[in-house]
Assembly symmetry: C2
Homo-oligomer: 324 residues x 2
Protein backbone atom coordinates (compact mmCIF):
# COMPACT_ATOMS: atom_id res chain seq x y z
CA UNK A 1 0.00 0.00 0.00
CA UNK A 2 1.51 3.34 -1.04
CA UNK A 3 0.92 6.10 1.50
CA UNK A 4 1.00 9.78 0.53
CA UNK A 5 3.79 12.14 1.59
CA UNK A 6 3.75 15.85 2.25
CA UNK A 7 5.29 16.27 -1.20
CA UNK A 8 2.14 14.75 -2.69
CA UNK A 9 0.07 17.23 -0.72
CA UNK A 10 2.19 20.15 -1.87
CA UNK A 11 1.75 18.98 -5.47
CA UNK A 12 -1.99 18.66 -4.93
CA UNK A 13 -2.05 22.20 -3.58
CA UNK A 14 -0.35 23.60 -6.67
CA UNK A 15 -2.78 21.61 -8.82
CA UNK A 16 -6.03 22.71 -7.13
CA UNK A 17 -5.06 26.24 -6.05
CA UNK A 18 -6.69 27.93 -9.06
CA UNK A 19 -10.01 26.22 -8.30
CA UNK A 20 -10.38 26.30 -4.51
CA UNK A 21 -10.91 29.13 -2.07
CA UNK A 22 -7.97 29.83 0.21
CA UNK A 23 -10.13 29.82 3.32
CA UNK A 24 -9.46 32.20 6.21
CA UNK A 25 -7.97 31.26 9.57
CA UNK A 26 -10.13 32.84 12.27
CA UNK A 27 -9.54 33.37 15.97
CA UNK A 28 -11.87 34.28 18.83
CA UNK A 29 -10.63 36.01 21.96
CA UNK A 30 -13.75 34.86 23.78
CA UNK A 31 -13.18 31.21 22.98
CA UNK A 32 -9.46 31.48 23.74
CA UNK A 33 -10.38 32.85 27.16
CA UNK A 34 -13.08 30.27 27.72
CA UNK A 35 -10.73 27.36 26.96
CA UNK A 36 -7.49 28.94 28.17
CA UNK A 37 -5.55 28.27 24.98
CA UNK A 38 -4.89 29.75 21.53
CA UNK A 39 -7.24 28.36 18.91
CA UNK A 40 -6.82 28.84 15.16
CA UNK A 41 -9.89 27.86 13.16
CA UNK A 42 -9.22 26.86 9.55
CA UNK A 43 -12.60 27.73 8.07
CA UNK A 44 -13.42 25.13 5.43
CA UNK A 45 -17.06 26.05 5.94
CA UNK A 46 -16.15 28.92 3.58
CA UNK A 47 -14.75 26.47 0.99
CA UNK A 48 -16.70 25.97 -2.24
CA UNK A 49 -19.76 23.75 -1.62
CA UNK A 50 -19.30 24.63 2.06
CA UNK A 51 -16.80 21.88 2.93
CA UNK A 52 -13.18 20.71 2.57
CA UNK A 53 -14.48 17.90 0.31
CA UNK A 54 -14.08 20.19 -2.69
CA UNK A 55 -10.28 20.00 -2.28
CA UNK A 56 -10.07 16.23 -2.59
CA UNK A 57 -12.66 16.00 -5.33
CA UNK A 58 -10.86 18.64 -7.38
CA UNK A 59 -7.51 16.92 -6.98
CA UNK A 60 -8.96 13.54 -7.98
CA UNK A 61 -10.75 14.97 -11.00
CA UNK A 62 -7.72 16.92 -12.22
CA UNK A 63 -5.56 13.80 -12.04
CA UNK A 64 -7.79 11.64 -14.21
CA UNK A 65 -6.16 10.58 -17.50
CA UNK A 66 -7.79 12.26 -20.50
CA UNK A 67 -9.43 9.00 -21.58
CA UNK A 68 -11.18 8.70 -18.23
CA UNK A 69 -12.13 12.38 -18.13
CA UNK A 70 -14.21 11.80 -21.25
CA UNK A 71 -16.23 9.10 -19.54
CA UNK A 72 -16.98 11.04 -16.38
CA UNK A 73 -17.02 10.30 -12.67
CA UNK A 74 -19.53 8.63 -10.37
CA UNK A 75 -20.12 8.71 -6.61
CA UNK A 76 -22.65 7.19 -4.24
CA UNK A 77 -22.11 9.69 -1.44
CA UNK A 78 -25.19 11.64 -0.41
CA UNK A 79 -23.33 14.26 1.58
CA UNK A 80 -20.77 16.98 0.95
CA UNK A 81 -18.63 14.74 -1.27
CA UNK A 82 -21.45 14.43 -3.81
CA UNK A 83 -21.81 18.19 -4.15
CA UNK A 84 -18.03 18.60 -4.20
CA UNK A 85 -17.53 16.01 -6.93
CA UNK A 86 -20.40 17.45 -8.96
CA UNK A 87 -18.91 20.95 -8.86
CA UNK A 88 -15.32 19.81 -9.38
CA UNK A 89 -16.43 17.82 -12.42
CA UNK A 90 -18.50 20.71 -13.80
CA UNK A 91 -15.60 23.14 -13.42
CA UNK A 92 -13.42 20.76 -15.42
CA UNK A 93 -15.93 19.96 -18.14
CA UNK A 94 -16.44 16.41 -16.89
CA UNK A 95 -19.73 14.57 -16.57
CA UNK A 96 -20.71 13.56 -13.01
CA UNK A 97 -23.15 10.82 -12.05
CA UNK A 98 -24.33 10.98 -8.45
CA UNK A 99 -26.30 8.19 -6.82
CA UNK A 100 -28.51 9.44 -3.98
CA UNK A 101 -31.13 7.81 -1.81
CA UNK A 102 -34.66 8.96 -2.65
CA UNK A 103 -34.87 10.12 0.96
CA UNK A 104 -31.99 12.63 0.70
CA UNK A 105 -32.81 16.17 1.85
CA UNK A 106 -34.31 18.36 -0.85
CA UNK A 107 -31.56 20.94 -0.32
CA UNK A 108 -28.88 18.33 -1.12
CA UNK A 109 -30.66 17.13 -4.23
CA UNK A 110 -31.00 20.72 -5.42
CA UNK A 111 -27.33 21.50 -4.77
CA UNK A 112 -26.11 18.48 -6.73
CA UNK A 113 -28.58 19.11 -9.56
CA UNK A 114 -27.58 22.78 -9.57
CA UNK A 115 -23.99 21.80 -10.35
CA UNK A 116 -25.23 19.96 -13.42
CA UNK A 117 -24.68 16.40 -12.21
CA UNK A 118 -26.91 13.56 -13.37
CA UNK A 119 -28.65 12.19 -10.29
CA UNK A 120 -29.85 8.59 -10.05
CA UNK A 121 -32.12 7.89 -7.12
CA UNK A 122 -32.12 4.52 -5.37
CA UNK A 123 -33.37 2.80 -2.23
CA UNK A 124 -31.88 4.28 0.94
CA UNK A 125 -29.55 1.37 1.71
CA UNK A 126 -25.76 1.15 1.37
CA UNK A 127 -26.15 -1.90 -0.83
CA UNK A 128 -28.55 -0.23 -3.25
CA UNK A 129 -26.28 2.78 -3.51
CA UNK A 130 -23.15 0.76 -4.22
CA UNK A 131 -24.92 -1.46 -6.74
CA UNK A 132 -26.44 1.48 -8.55
CA UNK A 133 -23.08 3.24 -8.72
CA UNK A 134 -21.42 0.08 -10.00
CA UNK A 135 -24.08 -0.33 -12.69
CA UNK A 136 -23.51 3.25 -13.83
CA UNK A 137 -19.74 2.77 -13.88
CA UNK A 138 -20.10 -0.39 -15.95
CA UNK A 139 -22.57 1.11 -18.37
CA UNK A 140 -20.83 4.47 -18.90
CA UNK A 141 -17.20 3.79 -18.06
CA UNK A 142 -17.35 6.58 -15.46
CA UNK A 143 -14.68 6.35 -12.75
CA UNK A 144 -15.86 5.87 -9.19
CA UNK A 145 -14.33 8.55 -6.96
CA UNK A 146 -14.55 7.25 -3.41
CA UNK A 147 -15.11 9.97 -0.77
CA UNK A 148 -12.05 8.98 1.28
CA UNK A 149 -10.57 5.60 0.27
CA UNK A 150 -8.64 7.28 -2.53
CA UNK A 151 -5.04 8.44 -2.57
CA UNK A 152 -5.69 11.58 -4.61
CA UNK A 153 -8.71 12.58 -2.54
CA UNK A 154 -6.62 12.27 0.63
CA UNK A 155 -3.87 14.44 -0.87
CA UNK A 156 -6.44 17.11 -1.71
CA UNK A 157 -7.92 17.07 1.80
CA UNK A 158 -4.42 17.51 3.26
CA UNK A 159 -4.11 20.91 1.62
CA UNK A 160 -6.34 22.46 4.30
CA UNK A 161 -3.78 21.60 7.00
CA UNK A 162 -0.98 22.66 4.65
CA UNK A 163 -2.49 26.14 4.25
CA UNK A 164 -3.19 26.40 7.97
CA UNK A 165 0.38 25.50 8.92
CA UNK A 166 1.86 27.78 6.28
CA UNK A 167 -0.14 30.65 7.77
CA UNK A 168 0.15 29.88 11.50
CA UNK A 169 3.58 28.75 12.54
CA UNK A 170 4.50 26.81 15.65
CA UNK A 171 1.25 25.00 16.24
CA UNK A 172 1.56 22.62 19.19
CA UNK A 173 -1.49 20.59 18.20
CA UNK A 174 -3.67 20.16 15.12
CA UNK A 175 -7.14 18.61 15.33
CA UNK A 176 -9.32 17.30 12.50
CA UNK A 177 -12.63 15.43 12.62
CA UNK A 178 -12.54 11.71 11.79
CA UNK A 179 -15.25 9.99 9.80
CA UNK A 180 -13.95 7.83 6.97
CA UNK A 181 -10.56 9.35 7.66
CA UNK A 182 -9.85 11.21 4.41
CA UNK A 183 -9.43 14.63 6.02
CA UNK A 184 -7.62 13.13 9.02
CA UNK A 185 -5.23 11.19 6.74
CA UNK A 186 -4.43 14.30 4.74
CA UNK A 187 -3.99 16.30 7.95
CA UNK A 188 -1.68 13.63 9.41
CA UNK A 189 0.45 13.54 6.29
CA UNK A 190 0.75 17.31 6.00
CA UNK A 191 1.35 18.02 9.68
CA UNK A 192 3.86 15.23 10.27
CA UNK A 193 5.66 16.08 7.05
CA UNK A 194 5.94 19.76 7.91
CA UNK A 195 6.59 19.66 11.66
CA UNK A 196 7.85 16.17 12.37
CA UNK A 197 7.42 15.11 15.99
CA UNK A 198 7.06 18.67 17.26
CA UNK A 199 3.31 18.73 16.59
CA UNK A 200 0.64 16.56 18.17
CA UNK A 201 -1.89 15.29 15.63
CA UNK A 202 -5.32 14.60 17.05
CA UNK A 203 -8.47 13.16 15.55
CA UNK A 204 -11.84 14.20 17.00
CA UNK A 205 -14.52 11.53 16.71
CA UNK A 206 -18.05 11.18 18.10
CA UNK A 207 -18.12 8.63 20.92
CA UNK A 208 -21.25 7.31 19.20
CA UNK A 209 -19.27 6.50 16.02
CA UNK A 210 -15.91 5.64 17.55
CA UNK A 211 -14.53 3.16 15.02
CA UNK A 212 -11.34 5.17 14.51
CA UNK A 213 -10.72 5.27 18.27
CA UNK A 214 -11.31 1.51 18.53
CA UNK A 215 -9.14 0.75 15.52
CA UNK A 216 -6.37 3.10 16.66
CA UNK A 217 -6.42 1.69 20.20
CA UNK A 218 -6.55 -2.00 19.28
CA UNK A 219 -4.43 -1.80 16.15
CA UNK A 220 -7.14 -3.69 14.26
CA UNK A 221 -9.55 -2.06 11.82
CA UNK A 222 -12.98 -2.14 13.51
CA UNK A 223 -15.74 -0.56 11.41
CA UNK A 224 -18.78 0.93 13.18
CA UNK A 225 -22.10 -0.84 12.86
CA UNK A 226 -25.05 1.50 12.31
CA UNK A 227 -23.71 4.41 14.38
CA UNK A 228 -26.03 7.27 15.42
CA UNK A 229 -24.65 10.75 15.94
CA UNK A 230 -25.67 14.34 15.36
CA UNK A 231 -22.35 14.66 13.48
CA UNK A 232 -23.84 13.11 10.37
CA UNK A 233 -20.71 13.64 8.28
CA UNK A 234 -18.81 11.23 10.54
CA UNK A 235 -20.94 8.09 10.29
CA UNK A 236 -18.53 6.34 7.93
CA UNK A 237 -15.68 4.09 9.08
CA UNK A 238 -11.96 4.08 8.28
CA UNK A 239 -10.73 2.12 5.26
CA UNK A 240 -7.50 0.09 5.22
CA UNK A 241 -5.78 3.04 3.55
CA UNK A 242 -6.93 5.77 5.93
CA UNK A 243 -6.37 3.49 8.93
CA UNK A 244 -2.77 2.88 7.85
CA UNK A 245 -2.04 6.58 7.51
CA UNK A 246 -3.71 7.47 10.80
CA UNK A 247 -2.09 4.60 12.73
CA UNK A 248 1.33 5.66 11.44
CA UNK A 249 0.94 9.36 12.22
CA UNK A 250 -1.77 10.33 14.70
CA UNK A 251 -0.94 10.87 18.35
CA UNK A 252 -4.46 10.56 19.70
CA UNK A 253 -8.05 9.96 18.75
CA UNK A 254 -10.26 11.85 21.22
CA UNK A 255 -13.90 10.80 21.37
CA UNK A 256 -16.50 13.45 22.16
CA UNK A 257 -20.03 13.29 23.51
CA UNK A 258 -23.13 14.35 21.59
CA UNK A 259 -23.76 17.04 24.21
CA UNK A 260 -20.29 18.54 23.70
CA UNK A 261 -20.68 18.49 19.92
CA UNK A 262 -23.96 20.41 20.10
CA UNK A 263 -22.72 22.83 22.74
CA UNK A 264 -19.60 23.59 20.70
CA UNK A 265 -21.57 24.00 17.49
CA UNK A 266 -23.75 26.58 19.25
CA UNK A 267 -20.65 28.27 20.72
CA UNK A 268 -19.12 28.63 17.24
CA UNK A 269 -22.37 30.05 15.87
CA UNK A 270 -22.90 32.43 18.78
CA UNK A 271 -19.37 33.61 19.47
CA UNK A 272 -17.75 33.48 16.05
CA UNK A 273 -20.89 34.29 13.99
CA UNK A 274 -20.02 31.58 11.50
CA UNK A 275 -21.89 28.40 10.62
CA UNK A 276 -20.08 25.18 11.43
CA UNK A 277 -21.89 21.88 11.00
CA UNK A 278 -22.02 19.36 13.84
CA UNK A 279 -19.23 17.24 12.34
CA UNK A 280 -16.97 20.31 12.32
CA UNK A 281 -17.79 21.16 15.93
CA UNK A 282 -16.21 17.88 17.11
CA UNK A 283 -12.79 19.54 17.03
CA UNK A 284 -13.83 22.20 19.54
CA UNK A 285 -15.67 19.54 21.56
CA UNK A 286 -12.34 17.70 21.88
CA UNK A 287 -10.85 20.87 23.38
CA UNK A 288 -13.82 21.34 25.72
CA UNK A 289 -13.68 17.79 27.02
CA UNK A 290 -9.88 17.62 27.43
CA UNK A 291 -8.88 20.93 29.02
CA UNK A 292 -5.58 19.70 30.46
CA UNK A 293 -4.38 18.43 27.11
CA UNK A 294 -4.99 21.74 25.36
CA UNK A 295 -4.28 24.29 28.13
CA UNK A 296 -1.95 27.10 27.01
CA UNK A 297 -1.29 25.33 23.71
CA UNK A 298 -1.45 26.75 20.19
CA UNK A 299 -4.01 24.52 18.52
CA UNK A 300 -5.16 24.45 14.91
CA UNK A 301 -8.74 23.24 14.41
CA UNK A 302 -10.01 22.22 10.99
CA UNK A 303 -13.60 23.42 10.72
CA UNK A 304 -14.53 20.90 8.09
CA UNK A 305 -17.82 22.28 6.81
CA UNK A 306 -20.82 24.53 7.30
CA UNK A 307 -23.74 22.74 5.70
CA UNK A 308 -26.58 22.85 8.21
CA UNK A 309 -30.17 22.24 7.18
CA UNK A 310 -31.62 25.23 9.00
CA UNK A 311 -34.90 25.18 7.15
CA UNK A 312 -35.99 21.94 8.71
CA UNK A 313 -36.14 23.44 12.17
CA UNK A 314 -35.88 27.20 11.99
CA UNK A 315 -38.96 27.96 9.94
CA UNK A 316 -41.17 26.06 12.36
CA UNK A 317 -39.74 27.95 15.30
CA UNK A 318 -40.30 31.43 13.91
CA UNK A 319 -43.87 30.90 12.75
CA UNK A 320 -45.13 32.51 15.93
CA UNK A 321 -43.21 35.66 15.12
CA UNK A 322 -44.46 36.15 11.59
CA UNK A 323 -47.75 37.73 12.45
CA UNK A 324 -48.58 39.58 9.27
Amino acid sequence: MILPSVTDIRSAHERIKPFIHRTPVMTSLQLNRMFDCDLFFKCENFQKVGAFKFRGATNAVRLLPDEEKKKGVVSHSSGNHAAALALAAAMNGIKAYIVMPETAAEVKKNAVAGYGAEITFCEPTAEARENTARDIAEKTGAVLIHPYDNFNVICGQGTAALELMNEISDLDIIVAPVGGGGLMSGTCTAARGISGKSIKIVGAEPLNANDAWKSFTTGVLCPSVNPQTVADGLLTSLSELTFSIIRNNADQILTVSEEAIIECMLLIWERMKIIAEASAATVLAAVMENPEFFRAKRTGLIISGGNVDFRSFYLESVKYATTG
Copy 2:
Protein backbone atom coordinates in the same frame (compact mmCIF):
# COMPACT_ATOMS: atom_id res chain seq x y z
CA MET B 1 -30.38 71.15 15.24
CA ILE B 2 -26.78 70.43 14.23
CA LEU B 3 -26.44 67.53 11.81
CA PRO B 4 -23.23 65.54 11.46
CA SER B 5 -20.99 65.75 8.39
CA VAL B 6 -18.69 63.19 6.83
CA THR B 7 -15.83 65.02 8.53
CA ASP B 8 -17.36 64.15 11.88
CA ILE B 9 -17.54 60.53 10.80
CA ARG B 10 -13.91 60.55 9.67
CA SER B 11 -12.93 61.99 13.04
CA ALA B 12 -14.98 59.35 14.82
CA HIS B 13 -13.21 56.68 12.78
CA GLU B 14 -9.76 57.91 13.82
CA ARG B 15 -10.99 58.01 17.42
CA ILE B 16 -12.46 54.51 17.61
CA LYS B 17 -10.12 52.68 15.22
CA PRO B 18 -7.89 51.30 17.98
CA PHE B 19 -10.89 49.77 19.75
CA ILE B 20 -13.11 48.37 17.01
CA HIS B 21 -12.67 45.49 14.58
CA ARG B 22 -12.24 46.51 10.96
CA THR B 23 -14.87 44.06 9.77
CA PRO B 24 -14.51 42.22 6.46
CA VAL B 25 -16.46 42.92 3.30
CA MET B 26 -17.72 39.60 1.95
CA THR B 27 -19.16 38.62 -1.40
CA SER B 28 -21.07 35.55 -2.58
CA LEU B 29 -21.06 34.46 -6.20
CA GLN B 30 -24.17 32.41 -5.53
CA LEU B 31 -26.13 35.36 -4.17
CA ASN B 32 -24.85 37.64 -6.93
CA ARG B 33 -26.16 35.14 -9.46
CA MET B 34 -29.43 34.65 -7.63
CA PHE B 35 -30.14 38.40 -7.53
CA ASP B 36 -28.35 39.39 -10.75
CA CYS B 37 -26.26 42.13 -9.16
CA ASP B 38 -22.99 42.66 -7.29
CA LEU B 39 -23.50 42.59 -3.54
CA PHE B 40 -20.87 43.69 -1.00
CA PHE B 41 -21.71 42.65 2.56
CA LYS B 42 -20.12 44.80 5.28
CA CYS B 43 -20.05 42.26 8.07
CA GLU B 44 -20.77 44.05 11.33
CA ASN B 45 -21.88 40.70 12.72
CA PHE B 46 -18.12 40.23 13.21
CA GLN B 47 -17.86 43.53 15.12
CA LYS B 48 -17.20 43.37 18.88
CA VAL B 49 -20.39 42.37 20.75
CA GLY B 50 -21.63 41.09 17.38
CA ALA B 51 -23.09 44.36 16.10
CA PHE B 52 -22.27 47.84 14.70
CA LYS B 53 -23.54 49.31 17.98
CA PHE B 54 -20.05 49.02 19.41
CA ARG B 55 -18.88 51.75 17.03
CA GLY B 56 -21.33 54.38 18.24
CA ALA B 57 -21.00 53.43 21.89
CA THR B 58 -17.22 53.67 21.70
CA ASN B 59 -17.32 57.05 20.01
CA ALA B 60 -19.78 58.42 22.57
CA VAL B 61 -17.79 57.11 25.51
CA ARG B 62 -14.45 58.39 24.18
CA LEU B 63 -15.92 61.87 23.74
CA LEU B 64 -17.17 62.25 27.30
CA PRO B 65 -15.42 65.03 29.24
CA ASP B 66 -13.19 63.67 32.00
CA GLU B 67 -15.59 64.83 34.70
CA GLU B 68 -18.41 62.81 33.16
CA LYS B 69 -16.21 59.76 32.55
CA LYS B 70 -15.71 59.52 36.30
CA LYS B 71 -19.44 59.27 36.90
CA GLY B 72 -20.12 56.61 34.32
CA VAL B 73 -22.75 55.97 31.67
CA VAL B 74 -26.26 54.57 31.76
CA SER B 75 -28.56 52.99 29.18
CA HIS B 76 -31.99 51.44 29.21
CA SER B 77 -31.57 49.45 26.01
CA SER B 78 -31.98 45.72 26.37
CA GLY B 79 -30.46 44.85 23.03
CA ASN B 80 -27.12 45.16 21.29
CA HIS B 81 -26.62 48.77 22.45
CA ALA B 82 -26.55 47.65 26.10
CA ALA B 83 -23.80 45.12 25.47
CA ALA B 84 -21.94 47.60 23.27
CA LEU B 85 -22.07 50.37 25.86
CA ALA B 86 -21.06 47.97 28.63
CA LEU B 87 -17.99 46.81 26.69
CA ALA B 88 -17.05 50.28 25.41
CA ALA B 89 -17.24 51.61 28.97
CA ALA B 90 -15.22 48.69 30.37
CA MET B 91 -12.49 49.15 27.74
CA ASN B 92 -12.21 52.79 28.74
CA GLY B 93 -12.27 52.27 32.51
CA ILE B 94 -15.74 53.77 32.84
CA LYS B 95 -18.58 52.46 34.97
CA ALA B 96 -21.71 51.38 33.05
CA TYR B 97 -25.21 51.05 34.48
CA ILE B 98 -27.59 49.06 32.32
CA VAL B 99 -31.32 48.91 32.96
CA MET B 100 -32.89 45.72 31.64
CA PRO B 101 -36.34 44.22 31.92
CA GLU B 102 -36.44 41.19 34.22
CA THR B 103 -37.74 39.28 31.21
CA ALA B 104 -34.61 39.84 29.06
CA ALA B 105 -33.04 36.71 27.59
CA GLU B 106 -30.54 35.03 29.88
CA VAL B 107 -27.88 35.24 27.17
CA LYS B 108 -28.22 39.04 27.04
CA LYS B 109 -28.07 39.41 30.82
CA ASN B 110 -24.94 37.24 30.88
CA ALA B 111 -23.28 39.21 28.09
CA VAL B 112 -23.84 42.56 29.79
CA ALA B 113 -22.80 41.21 33.19
CA GLY B 114 -19.74 39.63 31.59
CA TYR B 115 -18.58 43.06 30.45
CA GLY B 116 -18.68 44.21 34.06
CA ALA B 117 -21.71 46.49 33.85
CA GLU B 118 -24.01 46.99 36.82
CA ILE B 119 -27.43 45.71 35.81
CA THR B 120 -30.63 47.04 37.34
CA PHE B 121 -33.71 45.00 36.56
CA CYS B 122 -37.12 46.61 36.18
CA GLU B 123 -40.63 45.87 34.98
CA PRO B 124 -40.75 45.10 31.25
CA THR B 125 -42.33 48.40 30.18
CA ALA B 126 -40.78 51.35 28.39
CA GLU B 127 -41.91 53.63 31.20
CA ALA B 128 -40.31 51.54 33.93
CA ARG B 129 -37.07 51.39 31.98
CA GLU B 130 -36.87 55.10 31.36
CA ASN B 131 -37.77 55.96 34.94
CA THR B 132 -35.24 53.53 36.34
CA ALA B 133 -32.51 54.89 34.08
CA ARG B 134 -33.41 58.47 35.05
CA ASP B 135 -33.26 57.56 38.74
CA ILE B 136 -29.81 56.06 38.27
CA ALA B 137 -28.60 59.10 36.33
CA GLU B 138 -29.87 61.43 39.06
CA LYS B 139 -28.41 59.40 41.89
CA THR B 140 -25.00 58.69 40.36
CA GLY B 141 -24.50 61.49 37.86
CA ALA B 142 -24.02 58.89 35.10
CA VAL B 143 -24.62 60.18 31.57
CA LEU B 144 -27.44 58.61 29.60
CA ILE B 145 -26.14 57.40 26.25
CA HIS B 146 -29.14 57.05 23.99
CA PRO B 147 -28.90 54.17 21.48
CA TYR B 148 -29.51 56.43 18.46
CA ASP B 149 -30.79 59.90 19.37
CA ASN B 150 -27.23 61.03 19.98
CA PHE B 151 -24.89 62.93 17.64
CA ASN B 152 -21.74 61.05 18.70
CA VAL B 153 -23.42 57.66 18.50
CA ILE B 154 -24.57 58.43 14.95
CA CYS B 155 -21.05 59.48 13.93
CA GLY B 156 -19.70 56.19 15.28
CA GLN B 157 -22.30 54.15 13.39
CA GLY B 158 -21.40 55.95 10.16
CA THR B 159 -17.89 54.52 10.29
CA ALA B 160 -19.19 51.16 9.00
CA ALA B 161 -20.28 52.76 5.72
CA LEU B 162 -17.06 54.80 5.66
CA GLU B 163 -14.94 51.64 5.83
CA LEU B 164 -17.12 49.90 3.25
CA MET B 165 -16.85 52.77 0.77
CA ASN B 166 -13.12 53.15 1.33
CA GLU B 167 -12.72 49.47 0.48
CA ILE B 168 -15.23 49.09 -2.35
CA SER B 169 -15.24 51.98 -4.77
CA ASP B 170 -17.99 52.96 -7.15
CA LEU B 171 -20.95 51.61 -5.26
CA ASP B 172 -24.20 52.48 -7.04
CA ILE B 173 -26.34 51.84 -3.96
CA ILE B 174 -25.82 51.44 -0.24
CA VAL B 175 -28.46 49.86 2.00
CA ALA B 176 -28.69 49.91 5.80
CA PRO B 177 -31.46 48.67 8.11
CA VAL B 178 -33.64 51.33 9.78
CA GLY B 179 -34.87 51.02 13.35
CA GLY B 180 -34.32 54.14 15.43
CA GLY B 181 -32.23 55.43 12.55
CA GLY B 182 -28.78 55.69 14.13
CA LEU B 183 -27.05 53.38 11.66
CA MET B 184 -29.07 54.77 8.75
CA SER B 185 -28.22 58.37 9.74
CA GLY B 186 -24.53 57.56 9.93
CA THR B 187 -24.71 55.70 6.63
CA CYS B 188 -26.52 58.63 4.97
CA THR B 189 -23.97 61.10 6.22
CA ALA B 190 -20.97 59.04 5.19
CA ALA B 191 -22.27 57.97 1.79
CA ARG B 192 -23.60 61.38 0.72
CA GLY B 193 -20.45 63.06 1.98
CA ILE B 194 -18.16 60.70 0.09
CA SER B 195 -20.05 60.14 -3.15
CA GLY B 196 -22.47 63.04 -3.40
CA LYS B 197 -25.43 62.37 -5.66
CA SER B 198 -23.73 59.50 -7.48
CA ILE B 199 -24.83 56.94 -4.87
CA LYS B 200 -28.37 55.93 -3.98
CA ILE B 201 -28.88 55.65 -0.23
CA VAL B 202 -31.58 53.21 0.80
CA GLY B 203 -33.05 52.27 4.16
CA ALA B 204 -34.49 48.76 4.64
CA GLU B 205 -37.33 48.60 7.13
CA PRO B 206 -39.80 45.88 8.13
CA LEU B 207 -43.25 46.63 6.72
CA ASN B 208 -44.50 45.70 10.20
CA ALA B 209 -42.51 48.54 11.78
CA ASN B 210 -42.62 51.08 8.96
CA ASP B 211 -42.43 54.36 10.87
CA ALA B 212 -39.40 55.54 8.88
CA TRP B 213 -41.18 54.85 5.59
CA LYS B 214 -44.28 56.71 6.81
CA SER B 215 -42.26 59.62 8.14
CA PHE B 216 -40.08 59.81 5.03
CA THR B 217 -43.10 59.64 2.71
CA THR B 218 -45.29 62.13 4.56
CA GLY B 219 -42.53 64.44 5.75
CA VAL B 220 -43.93 64.21 9.27
CA LEU B 221 -42.37 62.15 12.05
CA CYS B 222 -44.78 59.24 12.70
CA PRO B 223 -43.58 56.84 15.40
CA SER B 224 -44.74 53.21 15.31
CA VAL B 225 -47.18 52.02 17.95
CA ASN B 226 -46.39 48.58 19.35
CA PRO B 227 -44.91 47.13 16.14
CA GLN B 228 -44.36 43.36 15.82
CA THR B 229 -41.58 42.01 13.62
CA VAL B 230 -39.09 39.18 13.62
CA ALA B 231 -36.46 41.92 13.12
CA ASP B 232 -36.42 42.70 16.82
CA GLY B 233 -33.61 45.23 16.54
CA LEU B 234 -35.83 47.47 14.42
CA LEU B 235 -38.83 47.98 16.71
CA THR B 236 -37.79 51.50 17.68
CA SER B 237 -38.90 54.66 15.84
CA LEU B 238 -36.94 57.56 14.38
CA SER B 239 -36.17 60.56 16.59
CA GLU B 240 -36.29 64.20 15.40
CA LEU B 241 -32.53 64.04 14.88
CA THR B 242 -32.36 60.81 12.89
CA PHE B 243 -35.45 61.78 10.91
CA SER B 244 -33.83 65.07 9.89
CA ILE B 245 -30.68 63.37 8.68
CA ILE B 246 -32.56 60.66 6.81
CA ARG B 247 -35.05 63.08 5.23
CA ASN B 248 -32.16 65.25 4.00
CA ASN B 249 -30.11 62.41 2.55
CA ALA B 250 -31.90 59.14 1.87
CA ASP B 251 -33.23 58.35 -1.60
CA GLN B 252 -35.62 55.61 -0.58
CA ILE B 253 -36.99 53.66 2.35
CA LEU B 254 -37.90 50.18 1.14
CA THR B 255 -40.21 48.17 3.36
CA VAL B 256 -39.82 44.41 3.46
CA SER B 257 -42.13 41.56 4.44
CA GLU B 258 -41.55 39.23 7.36
CA GLU B 259 -41.34 36.32 4.91
CA ALA B 260 -38.57 38.01 2.92
CA ILE B 261 -36.63 38.86 6.09
CA ILE B 262 -36.69 35.24 7.24
CA GLU B 263 -35.92 33.84 3.79
CA CYS B 264 -32.95 36.20 3.40
CA MET B 265 -31.66 35.43 6.89
CA LEU B 266 -31.68 31.74 6.00
CA LEU B 267 -30.02 32.48 2.64
CA ILE B 268 -27.20 34.35 4.36
CA TRP B 269 -26.72 31.51 6.85
CA GLU B 270 -26.86 28.79 4.21
CA ARG B 271 -24.96 30.38 1.35
CA MET B 272 -22.46 32.61 3.13
CA LYS B 273 -22.00 30.43 6.23
CA ILE B 274 -22.21 33.47 8.48
CA ILE B 275 -24.76 34.39 11.12
CA ALA B 276 -26.81 37.49 10.40
CA GLU B 277 -29.68 38.41 12.71
CA ALA B 278 -33.15 39.09 11.29
CA SER B 279 -32.69 42.86 11.50
CA ALA B 280 -29.55 42.56 9.37
CA ALA B 281 -31.30 40.39 6.79
CA THR B 282 -33.69 43.26 5.93
CA VAL B 283 -31.05 44.71 3.59
CA LEU B 284 -30.97 41.56 1.46
CA ALA B 285 -34.76 41.34 1.69
CA ALA B 286 -34.91 44.79 0.11
CA VAL B 287 -32.87 43.45 -2.81
CA MET B 288 -35.04 40.34 -3.09
CA GLU B 289 -38.28 42.30 -3.16
CA ASN B 290 -37.09 45.02 -5.56
CA PRO B 291 -35.19 43.20 -8.31
CA GLU B 292 -35.54 45.94 -10.92
CA PHE B 293 -34.08 48.57 -8.64
CA PHE B 294 -30.95 46.56 -7.89
CA ARG B 295 -30.39 44.66 -11.17
CA ALA B 296 -26.78 44.87 -12.43
CA LYS B 297 -25.95 47.43 -9.73
CA ARG B 298 -23.00 47.42 -7.30
CA THR B 299 -24.71 47.47 -3.94
CA GLY B 300 -23.21 47.71 -0.47
CA LEU B 301 -25.25 46.05 2.28
CA ILE B 302 -24.61 46.74 5.94
CA ILE B 303 -25.06 43.48 7.82
CA SER B 304 -25.77 45.15 11.12
CA GLY B 305 -25.39 42.28 13.56
CA GLY B 306 -25.27 38.56 14.20
CA ASN B 307 -26.84 38.04 17.60
CA VAL B 308 -29.33 35.21 17.23
CA ASP B 309 -30.64 33.30 20.23
CA PHE B 310 -30.09 29.86 18.77
CA ARG B 311 -30.42 28.06 22.06
CA SER B 312 -34.08 28.88 22.43
CA PHE B 313 -35.01 26.81 19.40
CA TYR B 314 -32.09 24.68 18.28
CA LEU B 315 -31.63 22.57 21.38
CA GLU B 316 -35.27 21.48 21.29
CA SER B 317 -34.98 20.49 17.65
CA VAL B 318 -31.91 18.28 18.04
CA LYS B 319 -33.09 16.38 21.09
CA TYR B 320 -34.24 13.56 18.89
CA ALA B 321 -30.73 13.17 17.49
CA THR B 322 -28.87 12.96 20.79
CA THR B 323 -29.56 9.36 21.53
CA GLY B 324 -26.73 8.52 23.94
